[in-house]
């Protein structure tokens, strides 16, 4: 279990400081696949580097299984990193790269060899053991980097956007492989990405970061369906935001009045939401088109975009709010609606999440 307690990192001096990590606290469980997700520059790499020991935080504590990590130099921490650029040693072979950590730990030769062979098999690189790292492909380098970091059996593996340099297909393949490796080795993974789809498909839990802060921690479903603030809702997936008025709150449900005057119920944060102005976040795929008659929301169809699996309808709601909804395409179905039609938007019961303004 790794506990990160109010870790703060300021770069620069006196007059010109930049806060890269703003009192970040999170507890990561044993054998968890934990993802840090956030836009570029939000502090993901900095947080990893604090854990690995390459950056000294300005304040805060980091403990691994109760052991204080911050007092230890990087080479004393039972933590390994898969670097974004892989950072394989170019003057060594694949096998030498993988064995490096064990060698530095002074493990007996036979053990090093055995573990290297196991690791080579694990990442399916046995054939390439004697190659130079410059003589293998990007995906293979990625696997070697992974094997090298796993070989010393760290308690914690840090992965900094390890898949970002790979093409789409290889990336999908490696995502599965990473999950398999994590299950097989039982090592805790902290995985950094700015790809939300990757985060949602791979993680046990996700921390969404922005501006050096963790904005929400939760399982993929929770993060997607129940974002707690506007940044998270906006960053992950597509979201429609509607200005609403909260009339009432009870039991994680809020009664809202829409601009159209219609009243609906929506999910709200457990800690409650004050009456008055708020924002309602609605996922495009949780809605469908319907007759304008008696619909909670209605407007004019301004655009229809065909995506193969589904079709996106852009609706200009009364009051000029843009609303996107998504419907799955049916076999042989043909377009029954045209741009300019007046349509209604049906909100399935329980759709939407109320966010504090």
């Amino acid at each position: 279990m790794i506990e990160i307690d109010r870790v703060r990192k300021e770069f620069g001096d006196g007059t010109d400081t930049f806060i890269a990590l703003d009192d970040v606290s999170v507890t990561i469980r044993e054998n968890e696949f934990f993802t840090l997700l956030g836009p570029s520059g939000c502090g993901k790499t900095t947080l990893l580097r604090v854990i690995a020991g390459f950056v000294d935080p300005t304040a805060g504590r980091v403990t691994l299984d109760g052991q204080d990590l911050l007092g230890l130099p990087p080479f004393r921490r039972p933590v390994n990193t898969v670097f974004q650029s892989y950072a394989l040693f170019p003057h060594m072979t694949v096998a030498e790269n993988i064995g490096f950590g064990l060698q530095m730990l002074n493990r007996p030769k036979a053990e090093v060899k055995q573990t290297v062979d196991e690791m080579l098999a694990l990442v399916k690189m046995t054939q390439m053991a004697g190659r130079r790292t410059s003589e293998i492909s990007g995906g293979q380098q990625q696997r070697v980097a992974l094997a090298r970091a796993l070989a010393p059996r760290p308690k914690l593996l840090l992965l900094d956007e390890p898949l970002s340099a790979l093409d789409y297909k290889l990336r999908k393949e490696m995502q599965l492989e990473l999950k398999r490796l994590q299950a097989e080795t039982g090592i805790t993974f902290i995985f950094v990405t700015h790809d939300q789809e990757e985060a949602l498909t791979m993680s046990d839990r996700i921390a969404v970061m922005n501006g050096g802060q963790i904005r929400q921690i939760g399982g993929p479903r929770e993060i997607y369906d129940r974002p707690t603030d506007r940044f998270v809702a906006d960053f992950i997936g597509e979201t429609n935001f509607l200005a609403v008025e909260v009339l009432d709150f009870a039991d994680e449900q809020a009664r809202l009045r829409l601009p159209s005057g219609a009243e609906i119920a929506a999910h709200a944060p457990a800690e409650g939401i004050p009456r008055g102005a708020a924002t309602l976040a609605i996922r495009p795929e949780h809605t469908s088109l319907c007759d304008p008659e008696g619909a909670a929301l209605k407007g004019k169809l301004s655009d229809i975009v065909y995506f193969g699996t589904d079709t996106h309808y852009h609706v200009a709601l009364d009051g000029d709010t843009r609303f996107v909804l998504r419907e799955q395409n049916q076999p042989g179905g043909h377009e029954a609606r045209a741009v300019g039609d007046t349509v209604g938007v049906r909100l399935a019961p329980g759709t939407g999440q109320v966010l504090r303004d």
């Binding site: 080479f75 670097f83 950072a87 040693f89 003057h91 530095m104 970091a149 010393p152």
Partner: protein, 299 residues
């Protein structure tokens, strides 16, 4: 119409001409002259007499007693060769010991500051060699800065004799040739991916192990280049040993100069020059071979 392939060939030769001219006249020409001179007879007042003789080469290693015709080793020459090789090797090692951390320091500064640091390293190099050597002399002579300071502080009561010793030559050459070591090491270090250093630390390598197992192998080309750049001119050094070694601790360069000057034995001077060339070549071959071997050993 001229054949395009032939014109291509002709153009290539034309382009090569300046290189060939330089090679012919600047490099091979003097070498051939020196080679011929080494097989001639010395003239009475310097110069050569066009009469074939092996005495020049003979005298590189041996002495023939003028009266008894007895042949002995030329001990003076041998000790000068030995001193030259020893001091050059030591200079190379010392410039490495001081130059490597310097290059590392500069390469790890913020990018904007690196050029400034390199400039500071290079500035002395733009000054005349003689002036720099005299500066060292001023530092270490008996009434010089170091001795005066030590005596004022009461650490010593008699000045330490540093000038006109091998130590003085070593100090002078190390100082003078340091930039030649720093520059190529810095160049390869700047190209080095410092993520690899972090990867080393991450994989449980201590600072020393990272240096030994990651940084050194990666900047090895720079170290080899720097060593050659320092070793070769050190072996032929002339000004520094002359000024700082006094008249007594000669090196090959001084010995050669002596033959063309006071000694009036140009063939011996020519033969000594070629001997120097041979020593340099053999040393370099040996060095590059061992350095390369260690490389393939690791690979």
């Amino acid at each position: 119409m001229p054949d395009p392939a032939r014109r291509e060939t002709r153009n290539r030769w034309l382009l090569l001409t300046p290189t060939l001219v330089v090679l012919l006249f600047a490099a091979s020409g003097p070498l051939i002259i020196v080679l011929i001179y080494s097989f001639l007879t010395p003239g009475d007042y310097g110069g050569v007499v066009w009469k074939f003789s092996l005495d020049g080469w003979f005298n590189v290693l041996f002495n023939r007693d003028f009266f008894t015709d007895q042949v002995t080793f030329a001990d003076a020459h041998l000790s000068i060769f030995w001193r030259s090789i020893k001091l050059s090797v030591l200079t190379t090692i010392l410039t490495f010991i001081f130059g490597f951390p310097t290059a590392y320091f500069i390469a790890t500064r913020p990018r904007a500051k690196r050029d400034l640091w390199m400039l500071l390293i290079m500035i002395p190099f733009w000054t005349n060699l003689l002036i720099r050597t005299f500066a060292v002399m001023e530092l270490i002579r008996n009434e010089g800065t170091i001795n005066t300071l030590l005596m004022r502080l009461g650490i010593i009561h008699e000045p330490i004799q540093m000038l006109f010793t091998e130590f003085a030559i070593l100090l002078g050459m190390t100082y003078v040739y340091l930039p030649l070591m720093v520059l190529p090491i810095y160049a390869s270090m700047e190209r080095m991916d410092f993520n690899l250093v972090e990867a080393g630390y991450d994989l449980y390598a201590t600072r020393w192990q990272v240096l030994r197992r990651v940084i050194l192998p990666l900047v090895k080309p720079g170290v080899i280049a720097g060593s050659i750049l320092v070793f070769v001119p050190s072996l032929g050094a002339y000004v520094t040993p002359r000024v700082l070694g006094g008249g007594t601790d000669l090196m090959i360069g001084n010995l050669i100069e002596l033959q063309f000057g006071q000694g009036r034995n140009w063939p011996l001077g020519a033969a000594l020059s070629l001997t120097l060339l041979v020593i340099v070549t053999v040393a370099l071959l040996f060095y590059v071979r061992t350095a390369g071997e260690e490389d393939s050993h690791h690979g």
